[in-house]
């Protein structure tokens, strides 16, 4: 887990420079790929940037995509700060979306002011359960969390497929004979209020930003958060200091799951207004990118999530403008992750050299 320690200990400017450098290199490689695809790189990137940030529609859509990325990313920050690798974002999103949908449909007579928070809590809770299982397995039985979270992803996906084709299928779809694997449309009072009229931007974006601040306070201003970070920095030292390491590892996974679950339910009541297959859109993985890009800091995750939200929106626009599949951007996201983790060694060497230089100049002085 040395890498995570490296990210944490970097001075702010380096932790901002490395991701940006990684992005530039990835975009350059993307430009070469665009040439191979017989598209003009500048034209394609102009379509991407213009589509994502050029008008109100693009700007708000980017924020809509950034919301689940930020929520998942916050959970990833908590987990990685405790040196727990959470690959289970996809499953936790599904768990949150499932229980949230069920809750909103079951209590559809409740007024909105009560139903919205209750539904959000239901999603948060389901995600927590989905994170708690690998958490407790790691704490009690030392089951590797990478494996158990991967398994939990598969289980959640199959569970959703089953429920959406069976017990939770939209009765309208049965009546029309289409049998689409999606849930009934949610009652309107549970839809998250729109922030900007005529756009998709919903109040979930505000919630995500508020929660980023809450996570910051939790990690840096509370005892539990302090212990959680101590476990991540040096589990042995934490153990000698009397901190129950397994408890905090399980806690971090549970909280990470909760935030991903929240992302799932927000996506349901904020954007889709029903549960459908593909609800995760890969946010469980791209949320990891946002968290890493934000230097594993909850506040840093805000611009990072917006950046990647904009990239995803721009990718769709680029696909329409220059007929380059949006999968190009997915490819670049993967490269960015590789470059960001790969460049940590260089920055560490640089930091070490700087430390040596400082001590030497101290001697001469």
């Amino acid at each position: 887990m040395a890498f995570l320690a490296k990210v944490r200990n970097n001075p702010i400017f380096i932790s901002a420079l490395i991701p940006l450098g990684a992005m530039v290199v990835a975009l350059l490689i993307g430009a070469v790929m665009l040439l191979f695809l017989r598209a003009h790189p500048l034209q394609a990137y102009a379509a991407l940037i213009g589509g994502a940030l050029g008008d109100v529609s693009g700007l708000t859509q980017s924020a809509v995509k950034a919301t689940p990325l930020l929520l998942v990313g916050l959970g990833i920050v908590i987990a990685f700060r405790a040196s727990v690798i959470n690959i289970g974002g996809e499953g936790q999103i599904i768990a949150g979306a499932l229980l949230g949908t069920w809750f909103a449909l079951t209590f559809r007579t409740w007024p909105g002011w009560l139903l919205i928070p209750a539904t959000l809590l239901a999603g948060f809770f389901a995600g927590m359960v989905w994170g708690f299982i690998p958490g407790i397995l790691k704490a009690r039985l030392s089951v590797n969390e990478i494996l158990s979270t991967v398994m939990m992803n598969a289980i959640a996906l199959q569970l959703m497929n089953y429920l959406l084709r069976g017990p939770m299928i939209d009765p309208a779809g049965i009546k029309a004979g289409t049998y689409l694997a999606q849930s009934e449309r949610l009652p309107e009072q549970v839809w998250l209020p729109r922030l900007v009229p005529q756009t998709l931007l919903h109040s979930g974006a505000i919630l995500a930003i508020v929660l980023a601040v809450v996570v910051y306070i939790f990690l840096w201003r509370t005892t539990i958060g302090y212990r959680l970070r101590a476990v991540g920095l040096n589990p042995d030292a934490a153990r000698y200091a009397g901190i129950r390491v397994p408890f905090y590892q399980a806690l971090s996974l549970t909280l990470a799951g909760g935030f991903a679950g929240l992302a799932g339910v927000v996506e349901v009541i904020g954007v889709q207004h029903r549960l459908l297959q593909g609800i995760t859109s890969g946010y469980g993985f791209s949320g990891i990118v946002a968290a890493l890009f934000g230097g594993l800091h909850p506040i840093g995750a805000i611009p990072a999530a917006y950046l990647f939200g904009a990239l995803l929106v721009g990718a769709d626009k680029m696909q329409r403008a220059v007929q380059v599949p949006s999968a190009l951007v997915d490819t670049l996201l993967g490269l960015i992750v590789l470059f960001v983790v790969g460049s940590q060694l260089l920055s560490r060497r640089q930091a070490a050299r700087r430390a040596v230089e400082t001590t030497e100049s101290d001697k001469t002085a």
Binding site: I85, V150, Q158, Q344
Partner: protein
């Protein structure tokens, strides 16, 4: 329900179990080598996807199955070199590097599929090859000896991997590097070299695993063809306790449950198929929880090596 116990059905289930084990075996044995040398490669699924795409694309355009397999080997090797460079040379956190590699492979294979193929097409993949004499044995011959070449290859890989690991100097070096890289280094074993070799070998096998899906089992390619199969392969390495025979047992258990569930669907047994599909995953978690096989885990797994760090 009684249907399921009839002989032809039992033969069908066991035949499917053997067949379905193929991609898992290639990917898992490959990942075992990487992990025994101390590198957790979580990007297997991404490598499988580009391997599956490359093999399918070549076969679609040339009709030559062996050329397709070669293409999968080559792209697997390239992906392996990328992973090794990031995680071994640059000493990056292996779990996250693997996720990056997975996202890269998923994106790249989707991109190339959309640009070069577009719609789901099929090819004629490796045909079933009945082994003379053995294939004629009733029941056993039907289950074991009427498969396509990649299936036989996967099962031959298991004893081969065991032999390399337990009976050769190379195996000794791999295990030493995974167990105590500093000691191996002081004895003149190139830790970096062994890890590069193992990661690349694992990636080549993952590429072949992908090809076995696209040009032997399903004979088609679509976006995200593997659907997370590569992640299961990583889990099966733990499941099998980092030993080829354990991996064989785990893979067969997994593929048998899968085959059973497929046949229950075919026979219309009243268990929702999606619930049945969950069984292997729940089973894997349960086995991981029950078996305390941490003791056999390579000591240096997931730890980048740098000379002079002690």
């Amino acid at each position: 329900m009684t249907d399921i116990f009839r002989l032809p059905v039992v033969i069908g289930i066991l035949f499917s179990a053997i067949r379905l084990a193929t991609p898992y075996l290639y990917a898992t044995i490959g990942e075992m080598f990487a992990q025994r040398s101390g590198v957790l490669n979580l990007g297997v699924d991404g490598i499988m996807l580009v391997g599956a795409y490359a093999a399918f694309f070549v076969v679609l355009n040339t009709g030559n199955l062996w050329l397709g397999l070669l293409a999968a080997v080559v792209v697997g090797l390239l992906m392996g070199l990328l992973m090794a460079f990031i995680s071994v040379t640059l000493q990056a956190e292996q779990g996250i590097s693997g996720i990056g590699l997975y996202m890269f492979g998923l994106g790249l294979s989707s991109l190339l599929f959309k640009v070069t193929i577009g719609t789901v097409k099929t090819v004629s993949g490796f045909p079933p090859l009945k082994i003379p004499w053995l294939g004629d044995i009733p029941v056993i011959g039907q289950i074991l000896f009427q498969h396509s070449l990649p299936v036989y290859g996967a099962f031959l890989l298991v004893p081969l991997a065991w032999w390399v690991l337990e009976k050769t100097t190379w195996g000794l070096k791999i295990k030493a590097v995974g167990q105590n890289p500093a000691a191996a280094d002081s004895l003149g074993v190139s830790v970096i070299g062994v890890r590069y070799l193992c990661v690349c070998l694992g990636a080549v096998l993952a590429g072949i695993a992908g090809a076995s899906l696209s040009i032997a089992l399903t004979n088609l390619f679509q976006e995200n063809l593997t659907a997370g199969l590569g992640f299961i392969a990583v889990a099966l390495v733990y499941f099998g306790g980092w030993r080829p025979l354990g991996i064989l047992a785990g893979t067969l258990l997994f593929s048998s449950v899968n085959a059973l569930q497929l046949w229950m669907q075919v026979l219309g047994v009243k268990i929702p198929s999606d619930v049945a599909v969950m069984l292997p995953y729940i089973l894997t978690i349960a086995v991981l929880a029950v078996m305390v096989n941490r003791a056999r885990q390579p000591a240096a797994l997931n730890k980048p090596f740098e000379r002079g760090e002690g």
